[in-house]
């Protein structure tokens, strides 16, 4: 088991990474300072609840002397709603959860964001532990961003609220459907682009198109996680450096919303990374060779790289409402090399439109090509 420490304003918390984390969940929570008899609510979704490791976590906590309950929400992004948060508050109240008790978020990004938001706001904040069960959640569970959606958009309501620990059991990842695995790899690749050229080169040399054994996976994920940790430590509340993590996300979020979440998060940000790579090229920030490597490594992992056939006008409003923007000009985190990203805050929407329209034409040509 590998331990990576994350410093945050609210204190340091560990990421425990390995093949055997969930069987030790109880003793790990005891080590965090929670006493036997503390109430622990596991919040999970109905997909995860049916997998064998859900029982492993519960049993481990029970055996360590915690008083447990499990609250289950339907799987899927639509559970990141205020209605669901209210149901969960009630579930915590009914169980008699107090400030000294603990929430464990067992699941993917949706469960982590939702359970984290509930923990951040229940009784003005109680402790929570992230127990991610997807590859995407290697990203979302670190850094303390929690939140829910409004009908108007994703993550419009939330908080910066770090977990007390991240318990990341790599053997849980073998239950992931291929598409979810692929989606998760988009963020791993992103972390290579941001700050780790060796990680990127490893993924180029040996694309991880399916979940490898924990021993192979651990160093790769540790490298990706370390990129995220370094960035959020430098800027916990996203006022500067943390913006580099938005590579692919500014356009990607809009594409994800526009697809009504038919595209997975990783798929949407894969397309977003391609478009933002092209934007970086259009601004002469990125060499063509590097741009090609980015597109190529995404493709090698089975991620989509072509712009969906939406009019730009349909995306523009969605990008505009995105909270990362503070003015009429847009802010983007653009790759300037493999392993280096620059935040630019003077992007005119028209520049993005030009890149978008060009990609749209290329995609259509490409499809036309296939048909002939």
């Amino acid at each position: 088991m590998r331990r990576i420490e994350v410093r945050s304003a609210a204190g340091t918390y560990p990421i425990m990474l390995g093949a055997d984390v969930f069987t030790q969940a109880g003793s790990l929570v005891l080590e965090l300072g929670f006493r036997r008899g503390t109430k622990v609510t596991i919040i999970t979704d109905d997909t995860v609840a049916s997998l064998p490791f859900a029982d492993t976590v519960l049993t481990s906590l029970d055996e360590a002397g915690f008083v447990t309950q499990t609250l289950t929400v339907p799987a899927g992004d639509s559970s990141k709603s205020m209605d669901m948060a209210i149901d969960l508050y009630r579930g915590l109240l009914k169980f008699g959860m107090r400030r000294s008790d603990l929430v464990v978020a067992l699941g993917g990004g949706v469960v982590g964001d939702l359970a984290g938001f509930v923990a951040a706001t229940y009784l003005r904040g109680i402790a929570f532990v992230q127990a991610p069960t997807t590859l995407l959640a290697h990203d979302s569970s670190i850094g303390g961003k929690v939140g829910i959606n409004l009908p108007e958009g994703k993550n419009l309501v939330g908080a910066f609220y770090p977990p007390r620990a991240v318990l990341y059991d790599l053997s849980a990842l073998r239950y992931l459907p291929v598409r979810q695995w692929t989606n998760g790899m988009a963020e791993v690749i992103k972390h290579g682009i941001i700050a780790n050229p060796e990680l990127f080169a490893n993924l180029e040399a040996k694309p991880l198109t399916e979940c490898p054994l924990p021993d192979t996976l651990e160093p790769i994920l540790a490298a990706a996680i370390q990129v995220k940790v370094d960035v959020v430590q430098a800027d916990e509340r996203e006022s500067g450096r943390r913006q580099v993590l938005n590579v692919g996300h500014t356009i990607g979020h809009a594409i994800e919303q526009r697809s009504h979440y038919q595209l997975g998060h990783g798929e949407a940000i894969s397309i977003g990374m391609v478009l933002e790579t092209k934007l970086a090229q259009a601004r002469n920030l990125l060499a063509q060779a590097d741009a090609l490597r980015i597109v190529s490594v995404l493709e090698a992992h089975g991620l989509p790289v072509r712009t969906p056939a939406d009019e730009f006008s349909e995306l523009r409003g969605l990008i505009d409402v995105d909270k990362k923007h503070g003015s009429a000009l847009w802010t983007f985190a653009l790759p300037v090399a493999i392993g280096d990203v620059r935040v630019v805050s003077d992007v005119r929407p028209e520049e993005v439109e030009a890149v978008y329209v060009q990609s749209l034409r290329a995609a259509v040509r490409c499809q036309g090509h296939k048909l002939t």
Copy 2:
């Protein structure tokens, strides 16, 4: 204008206290570092919106170059709901409010708690300024506690989220109805009991049964505010010292809920302070002379001191759900002298019941007395 600084983990913020604060609202917000052109949403209630100073604040912000809107909620505690929070999120989205923009909470404790919660969670947190317009809010606007109610109880959902400033215009207080003034005095008296025997003696010598001129009020409120500031600086997240502020509140909250908010907050905590004073006596923590002084100063300000005719069983569950308790034994902040409070964590519910039942009998005897 007097300036009191409050240190918090998120930075230091000023309380601006005086007779002329609202006319200078715009320049004060500029001094906080917000630029002309920043969007400012004033959140207020329909009672405050109709008072002249609401326009004063708006005009001052407009003239300083901010882009303003006002969102108005119905006056009263029922506005501290999730439904109202969602309405406000939408109002902020519609106005295009971004992370760099500002919410101003103009009103009493309900508006401050609600608008503060919305600011704490909108886009994971945007800046807000407290502009309290009641005497009670001299307390609630300081220390960063924000929150909303669930049908199950008060403040069950919320955050610790300090404002960027508190703009407290004492001339606004002359619009307060007498009952609201009286309610506010309960917290001023409480701050004397906690840590300022001179303040308490002043209130004994010259009860403030109505709003005096700002020059008279300013030093008294500054003293009360300083007590609160000292406590929250020592313990921002209510893990220790801050519990002393709960004098009167542990029972008071339950009484307030049980009355279905027919009792004002100050009225309920006045009764709570009397009961907790008796609990302190029963534990031999407080001299009888001091206990009498506490009851007497509350009465002199027109505050209720008699236990309402509820069965203890009806209150017990309400005290139990109260978030301040971490175990089967209850925690109380009990006065041990005028100007000194001790937190005790080993109170058995039966002790509270004994004090309560005794007070209930005394109150009934007293009423019987009147009737003969």
